[in-house]
Symmetry: C3
């Protein structure tokens, strides 16, 4: 993790390149990589802060800041009107988290332990919330494709879908942090803080600020850079940005799996997907109005089909509250095949 922080040196480099109008492909790559350590630092600072605030507000903090980097990147993309990139990176985050992160965790953890077990309430809650993702993707698509709904009415349907998603998100927070919290004995790491309150807040502030600057530059260079690199926008949005944006989470989940703490790995992987779909996506729909770039929730059929396939596979695998290397490998292979598909189109 220490070496990761070397990537922070890219921040001044990006700024210099930006002012000297360097090659946009380099700026794109450098700003994307610089977000890797920043996301990790935001995660660490949030965790430290949450120890100071107590578990309830801490849970809330973790839940809302957990995908801060993605939220900020997508907000800038939305502001720039790059709606297909916004949707692709939402879709890609979901796919990456539930197939790649969970798959690698189960595969690597499963090579060490014969069976990896989940708390059945954790797996049950997560599979229910993944269902909500299928619902929110399907309803606009069903009415758009089979119902020939008009564009402005599709916008209305998307708005209501966003309200439904937020409602379920809030209810799920109440469920897991208040009414049913005793069911979720997630074994947490030692809760002694290393940083003081002031340091936590300061670090959080500056790292979020740095992500804001890097994201703005990243988004500006997406279009020219993808052209220069000969990649499709869909591949960049769906595969590249989410892998880099979630790198810190990926390693955290695998480390947890190696300690046979699969509940935490599941929380990181599936919890992240759920948060992006149930919190980030509706927030972006609302912000779309503010930015004058209204965004509906009609994803392209390719994204919808891949996400539904991924969720069906993950739900079948997670449901019995245990997993092993073979199931992990199935998830991982699914991710690789989907990535190859997006690379080839």
């Amino acid at each position: 993790m220490k070496y990761l922080n070397l990537l922070l040196l890219l921040i001044p480099a990006v700024i210099v390149m930006e002012f000297t109008h360097a090659n946009e492909a380099y700026i794109f790559a450098a700003s994307l990589l610089s977000i890797v350590p920043l996301a990790a630092i935001i995660g660490k600072a949030t965790e430290e802060l949450s120890i100071h605030t107590g578990p309830r507000i801490g849970g809330l903090l973790n839940a809302t800041l957990g995908n801060a980097a993605e939220l900020i990147i997508t907000i800038f993309a939305l502001k720039a009107g790059l709606i297909s990139i916004v949707k692709a990176s939402i879709a890609g985050s979901i796919l990456g988290n539930i197939l790649l992160v969970l798959g690698l965790s189960a595969f690597i953890g499963g090579l060490k332990y014969e069976r990896l077990q989940f708390n059945c309430y954790v797996s049950n809650l997560n599979t229910s919330l993944l269902l909500m993702i299928i619902i929110s993707l399907s309803v606009p698509a069903i009415f758009s494709i089979s119902g020939h709904i008009e564009p402005d009415r599709l916008q209305t349907l998307s708005l209501w879908t966003a309200v439904g998603l937020l409602l379920i998100y809030v209810a799920s927070m109440l469920f897991s942090f208040k009414t049913h919290k005793h069911l979720f004995h997630v074994e947490h790491e030692g809760q002694n803080f290393e940083w003081g309150l002031k340091k936590s807040v300061t670090v959080l502030f500056f790292s979020v600020a740095a992500v804001v600057v890097m994201s703005e530059i990243l988004v500006e260079t997406i279009e020219p850079a993808t052209k220069a690199l000969g990649l499709s926008e869909l591949f960049v949005g769906l595969i590249l940005i989410p892998i880099v944006g979630n790198a810190a989470e990926h390693s955290a989940a695998i480390i947890m799996a190696l300690k046979n703490k699969m509940n935490i790995a599941l929380e990181i992987a599936v919890g992240s997907s759920v948060q992006i779909a149930l919190f980030v996506a509706p927030v972006l729909v609302f912000l779309g109005y503010a930015f004058g770039h209204p965004m509906n929730l009609l994803f392209n059929p390719l994204e919808i089909a891949c996400i539904i396939l991924a969720i069906v596979v993950v739900n079948n695998i997670v449901r019995d509250s245990e997993t092993d290397y073979l199931e992990g490998l199935i998830l991982f292979v699914t991710y690789i095949l989907i990535s190859i598909g997006f690379f080839l189109i």
Copy 2:
């Protein structure tokens, strides 16, 4: 429930309006509402009668008369050649029962009890029968859409599908009332009858007769009324008729959920859907020939997609033999989003 019977006053009103050729939108609304208490009375009379006849014939009576109102309405619609209304109200009954009735029951019951449990045999039987609904919807659709089957052959396929549905329905009755009945310890309400045999039969006879008259008038006014009210036929058939037609069942299921008798709530909600798909639908296919309006089982893609989505969600939620308010809310939100979709197209 007492106040509900005030709606019975609408019966003479409907007849007067019918003879005076009043505005069809009023006749439509009044006849629709008058069916609410009638359906409740048929339910009560069937229950009383079944105590007199013993559990086996009683189970059969409940199973066949449980959806008497819907059966009668759809028979009149079929006779009038309104095949798309027939299909829409079959589809709507399934959606309304498994999403709205079960969702509200689980949500409201779940606010009172931390966990609502099902008998695993009850949930297992019901999820298997819901699968049969997916099969019966999918097979004609798959061959029609991907196989370019000719219309008269689609009719043949629908006939065989109807035979298959009835066969599974009969087998499921044998399963739950005969060969495996000891597995289903559904805690029934006190089984002391309030009504004599004669009263039960008389009430049943007159309430069914009243539903017959009201349904005939309702069906006559559907087309002009939907036009006058500016609603799509699909919205009326899929959302409005099933909600009103099942109002009595809705309240019964919620009352059971509030007593933590989720097996009965599940029986009412899912059992109703199953009965409509596995008994009412094939009977209508056979009657279609008698009426000279042959009906196939090819539903429109919108209906198929919504029902498959609903069943996938319900099966995932019911399968683990317990539920809670969050899962109930997910079902309810799904219903609302689908209803908004049908309202907007």
Copy 3:
């Protein structure tokens, strides 16, 4: 089983008819029927041989020779460039095994025993591998239909999908025969050999040789025979060939179900499907290059829809590690309806 061997007399008859240029419909029927006892003999010889070689190599032998007849038929069809017949018979084998064989086993076994139970690890492994079939069918179809992928890139995607399938196949063999083998206490029949090593090898050699000859003749006559009989190629490939080719397995699975040895019945039915999809299909993709008839893994939408429907139904039914006659009947009815559909198009 003794009487079955009478069908071996068809082998010389086929050869005589072939040389005398008899009616191709007769040759087709006779060669198809002659494969029934040959497949049974290969099965018996493989089993005997595997006792001599010990369980590990024996498992491998069973796994690779278990579908020898189908593998040989499809290789000849591929060599002849009949790619749609190859795909149809892969699809048909999967459907026949998981719906017809498993359905009849559960139905007939369920009439005798109230509940038929599976080892939960056996059912869990099999449902995971069935998911892999859905993935391998869906990924090429999703990118072909929604992504408008170019034909040569679809070939690349198919090749990678084939690699993924083989990888999971090898991993599943390691899983069930090595790393996790203690979980699978499949109660095997008495393991005393009846045949010596030499007899086993000799019988295996000659029965495989006979299948090779019969398959070559069968494939030659498919096209003229289907025309003469007025059947669609899809019906022959999907329904007729798999039923006949799997007849021996069908009876074996039902015999096991009648002894309440459902784990073996499940292994035969689902295990066979998995082997065809995860081993035979990718091998055919690789062989396609050698034969100069490159085969992709894009099945037709009808086949994909039917297989996904079948797997969803089977997974829901098998998942709870027990079954009964009603669930068996649902699988059987599904198979019959799909067969009627293919007959009617």
